[in-house]
């Protein structure tokens, strides 16, 4: 979603529930997408990626879904844990360019 300054969109979930974090990307020509997790005071950490020739990719407890028709990317986290609490960013790479553009981030709060 759009950045609203210091007030990041926030998703609060109960420990053990599944989480879905959404991202609308900007360029229909983007060919590569990455989800990052950023804990307080740390750099972004790679979670999972997907190329534009796929619509779904699974990792350990995480799944990324890509809908190119509506330019939408989602990250699903199964059995969310307190350690999953962080800010999550999606990033897109435009086809034939090597720069990555980042969304404004979503803060995930996991309640024990």
């Amino acid at each position: 979603g759009e950045s609203v300054g210091l007030h990041l969109p926030t998703l609060s979930v109960q420990e053990g529930d599944n989480s879905i974090i959404n991202c609308a990307y900007s360029n229909s020509a983007s060919d590569y997408f990455i989800w990052y997790k950023q804990e307080s005071g740390k750099g972004p950490q790679f979670i999972i990626d997907i190329r534009s020739n796929m619509d779904k990719r699974q990792g350990q407890r995480v799944t990324v879904l890509l809908n190119k028709t509506v330019k939408h990317l989602s990250l699903q986290i199964a059995a969310t844990q307190p350690g999953d609490s962080a800010v999550y960013f999606c990033a897109e790479k435009y086809n034939n360019f090597n720069k990555f553009y980042f969304g404004s981030g979503t803060k995930l709060n996991v309640k024990p």
Binding site: S3, G5, L6, H7, K99, F102
Partner: protein
Amino acid sequence: GAGVSQSPSNKVTEKGKDVELRCDPISGHTALYWYRQSLGQGLEFLIYFQGNSAPDKSGLPSDRFSAERTGGSVSTLTIQRTQQEDSAVYLCASSVTGNTIYFGEGSWLTVV
């Protein structure tokens, strides 16, 4: 080390002074990126180096900002005549071209 290394991790400087931030990318990574992240915000692209090609400087916010990459490895981001609005986390990342970018932990700059 195995990851992207940045120094200093924290820097407090007086308005008007110059600062240099250093990035040591992952060995073998030909691409190097600098991003800036203000408090509670997303990642703002600054500059991109790829091998011996001319860098993409399109994200540098003013001519007070410059960066170089010596020998295709270590990079230095220099901010001249720092202003309070330069206060942010400066993140460096590296990659094998076109693939996942890996971030360092950032250099936290505070201009007082």
